[in-house]
C-alpha cells in the first residue's frame, strides 16, 4: 500500500479521514458551481424572457414525460429548475457567508474588548450575550426580519431582503465568537508579550489587533465552518417561511417554499431537488466542520 500512496497532500498531512476529504471536495465543487452559476447554468432564471408558462411544471428529463431540455424539470413558471437551483445556491451561499462574516467581525471585536478590558465592559457584553443565547436562532431572526419589514416600506423589502437576512442571522451567531475569543483573549492578555506591549505604552487597540488577534484566530476559523452551515440552514428556513428572499430572486429556501405548494398535486421535483441540494451542501460543510472541530480541540484529541 505504501508504494501506491501518492505524496501526502495538505489534507492527508492534517490526518483527515476520507469522509472529510470527500466532503471537503464536494463542498468546494458545490460552492464553485454556485459561484459560476451565470456561466454554467443552461438558462438565466433572472431573465424573464427566457422562460414561458407553456413549459411550466415539466417533470425531470429522466422521467417518462420529461423534456430533455430541462434536466431537472421546470418550476411553476416554466423556469429551468437546475438553473434556478444554481442561482439559488449562489444566493444562499452569499447570504450565509455574509452572515458569518458579519457575526465573526462583531463577535471577535466584542470578544477582544471583553477579554482585554474585563470588568464592566466584560460584564455588559457577556450579559447581552447570555440574553441573546437564551433565545433560539429562529425566533431572533424572525423578530429582526419582522421589525425590518415594518420599518422598510413594502416595495423596498425585496431589495433589502439579503441585508435583513444577514443581520437577522448574525444577531445570534456573533455570541459564539465573542465567547470563544473572550476566553482566548483573557489567556493571552496574561502572557508576557502582552504585558511587555502594555509597558512600552502601545495603545490598547494596537495591542488587541496586532498582537492578540493573530493568536486567537484559529478557533474563529473552526467556528466559522460550522456556522456557515448553520447560517445557510437558517436562511433557508426563513425563506421557506416566506420572510426571506422573494420569489423573484429566490434562494434554495424560496425554491423549496414554491415547491411546497405543489407537493399535494404530485409535483414533487420543484421542492425535492432544491431540498436535496441544500442538504448535500450543508452536510458537506458540516462534515468538514466536525472534523476541524475535533482536530483543533485538544480535549478530544487526547481521548482518541
Amino acid at each position: 500500500m505504501k508504494t501506491l500512496a501518492p505524496t501526502p497532500g495538505l489534507f492527508m498531512r492534517l490526518g483527515a479521514p476520507p469522509s472529510a476529504i470527500v466532503a471537503g471536495a464536494l463542498a468546494l465543487i458545490l460552492v464553485a458551481c454556485a459561484l459560476l452559476a451565470s456561466w454554467i447554468a443552461p438558462y438565466d432564471p433572472t431573465d424573464l424572457s427566457s422562460f414561458e408558462l407553456i413549459n411550466a411544471e415539466l417533470p425531470p428529463a429522466f422521467t417518462a414525460d420529461g423534456d430533455p431540455n430541462f434536466l431537472l424539470g421546470t418550476d411553476n413558471q416554466g423556469r429551468d429548475l437546475l438553473s434556478a437551483m444554481l442561482y439559488g445556491a449562489r444566493v444562499s451561499i452569499a447570504i450565509g457567508g455574509g452572515a458569518v462574516l458579519l457575526a465573526a467581525t462583531l463577535g471577535v471585536s466584542l470578544g477582544l474588548l471583553a477579554g482585554y478590558f474585563g470588568g464592566k465592559v466584560d460584564a455588559l457584553i457577556m450579559r447581552i450575550a447570555d440574553v441573546i443565547l437564551s433565545f433560539p436562532t429562529i425566533l431572533l431572526a424572525l423578530l429582526v426580519s419582522g421589525i425590518a419589514r415594518a420599518l422598510i416600506p413594502g416595495a423596498a423589502t425585496a431589495e433589502w431582503a439579503p441585508v435583513i437576512l444577514i443581520c437577522a442571522i448574525a444577531i445570534h451567531e456573533w455570541v459564539q465568537y465573542a465567547r470563544t475569543v473572550r476566553a482566548a483573549t483573557m489567556v493571552e492578555t496574561a502572557k508576557d508579550y502582552v504585558r511587555a506591549a502594555k509597558v512600552i505604552g502601545l495603545p490598547p487597540w494596537r495591542i488587541m489587533l496586532r498582537h492578540i488577534l493573530p493568536n486567537v484566530m484559529s478557533p474563529v476559523l473552526v467556528i466559522s465552518t460550522i456556522n456557515l452551515a448553520a447560517a445557510v440552514l437558517t436562511e433557508a428556513t426563513l425563506s421557506f417561511l416566506g420572510v426571506g428572499m422573494p420569489p423573484t430572486y429566490p434562494s434554495l429556501g424560496t425554491l423549496i417554499r414554491i415547491g411546497n405548494e405543489f407537493v399535494f398535486s404530485g409535483i414533487w421535483w420543484i421542492a425535492l431537488f432544491p431540498a436535496l441540494a441544500l442538504v448535500i451542501l450543508v452536510l458537506a460543510v458540516n462534515i468538514v466542520g466536525d472534523w476541524l472541530r475535533d482536530r483543533f480541540n485538544p480535549k478530544l484529541r487526547v481521548k482518541r
Binding site: L233, A236, W268, L283
Partner: protein, 323 residues
C-alpha cells in the same frame, strides 16, 4: 441560598424588562398606530384626538408604564388583522402548540435515549456508526425538508396519514385536545416526528457523551471489579447518572421547541401559536408579534430561572461559586 435566589430572580426580572421594552418599542414605533387605526381621510383634529385618547401624547416613560400595567393585567392589545384581542388569539392557539411539543418531546426521548446508549456501549459497532452518520445527516437536514419528504411519502404517495391540521379536536372548556379522537391522534404522527427529529440528534449525542463519561468513572470500574452483572451496571448504575443532564436539557429545550414549532406548524398548517406568529410577521401585525415575543420570552426566562434555582438547591458547589 437566599442571595442566589434573589440575584437569579433579579436577573430574570431584568431580562423580562428588556424583552418588554423591545416589545413596547415595536408596538410604539414600528408603523404608526394612529395611521393604522384611523379612517383613511381622517382630519388632523380627528387624528390628534385619537392620539390623545390612545395616550400617545404622553411622555415616553408614562407610555411604557401604561404598557407594562396593561400587559400585566393580561391586555395585549387587538390584532390589526383579525380585530380580536391578542390574548384571546394566543389562548386559542396555545393547546395545539403545547400538545405538539409534548408529543415531540416524548418521541425524541423514547428514541434518543436508546440510540445514545447504543452508541456509547458499542462505539465501534456497525449500528453505532450508522446512527452517528445518520445524526450528522439529521443535523444538516432542515426541519421543513423532513416535513415535506414525510408528507410526500406518507400523505401524497401512500395516503396513510393526514398531512395538515389537527384533525378532530375535543373541547374541554378552555382547552382543545387532539388526544381523544382517532383523527386527532393520526394528525400528530407526521408533525410530531418532524419536530422530534430536531431534538432527537441533540438528546442522542448528549446521552452518548454522558454515558461514555460515566462509564469511565471510578465507581463503574469498581462495580465491574466486584463482578456485578453488566446489564445492572449499564442500566441501573450508569444510565441513571447519565440521564440527569439529559432531563435538564430536555426541560430547557421545551422553550426552543415551542419557538421551533413555527417551522413545523407552517409545513403542516398546524393551527398553533407558531402559525399565528408567522402570519403576523408577513402581515406586519405588530400586536400579535409583540405578544408572541413577550409570551415566549416569559416562558424562556421562567424555565431558565427555575432550572438555575433548582440547580443551586441540588448542587451546593454552585451556591458557593455564585454567592
Amino acid at each position: 441560598m437566599f442571595k442566589v435566589l434573589l440575584s437569579r430572580l433579579g436577573q430574570a426580572a431584568l431580562v423580562m424588562l428588556v424583552v418588554s421594552a423591545v416589545s413596547f418599542v415595536m408596538f410604539r414605533y414600528v408603523g404608526d398606530p394612529v395611521a393604522t387605526m384611523s379612517r383613511e381621510n381622517a382630519s388632523v383634529e380627528e387624528k390628534a384626538e385619537l392620539r390623545r385618547s390612545l395616550g400617545l401624547d404622553q411622555p415616553l416613560v408614562v407610555q411604557y408604564g401604561r404598557f407594562l400595567t396593561r400587559t400585566l393585567s393580561g391586555d395585549l392589545g387587538i390584532s390589526y388583522r383579525n380585530q380580536r384581542p391578542v390574548t384571546e388569539l394566543i389562548a386559542e392557539r396555545l393547546p395545539a402548540t403545547l400538545e405538539l411539543v409534548i408529543v415531540a418531546t416524548i418521541l425524541s426521548l423514547a428514541l434518543g435515549i436508546p440510540l445514545g446508549v447504543l452508541c456509547a456501549l458499542k462505539p465501534d459497532g456497525v449500528a453505532a456508526r450508522l446512527v452517528q452518520a445518520l445524526s450528522l445527516v439529521g443535523i444538516s437536514t432542515p426541519t421543513f425538508v423532513t416535513g415535506i419528504v414525510l408528507i410526500l411519502v406518507f400523505a401524497v404517495s401512500l395516503g396513510w396519514l393526514p398531512s395538515f391540521g389537527r384533525g378532530q379536536v375535543v373541547d374541554l372548556g378552555w382547552w382543545s385536545t387532539g388526544f381523544l379522537t382517532i383523527s386527532g391522534l393520526k394528525s400528530f404522527i407526521l408533525p410530531g416526528i418532524t419536530l422530534a427529529l430536531y431534538q432527537l440528534t441533540l438528546i442522542m449525542r448528549l446521552v452518548r457523551a454522558e454515558m461514555i463519561d460515566v462509564l469511565s468513572s471510578d465507581y463503574i470500574r469498581f462495580a465491574k471489579a466486584r463482578g456485578l452483572p453488566t446489564r445492572y451496571i449499564h442500566f441501573r448504575l450508569a444510565l441513571r447518572n447519565a440521564l440527569m443532564p439529559v432531563i435538564t436539557v430536555t426541560g430547557l429545550q421545551i422553550g426552543s421547541l415551542i419557538a421551533f414549532a413555527i417551522v413545523t406548524e407552517t409545513v403542516f398548517q398546524w393551527p398553533g401559536m407558531g402559525l399565528l406568529f408567522i402570519q403576523a410577521v408577513s402581515f406586519v401585525d405588530i400586536p400579535v408579534m409583540a405578544a408572541y415575543l413577550l409570551f415566549v420570552g416569559l416562558l424562556f426566562v421562567l424555565i431558565n430561572t427555575v432550572v438555575d434555582i433548582l440547580y443551586a438547591v441540588v448542587d451546593p458547589r454552585l451556591r458557593a461559586r455564585s454567592a
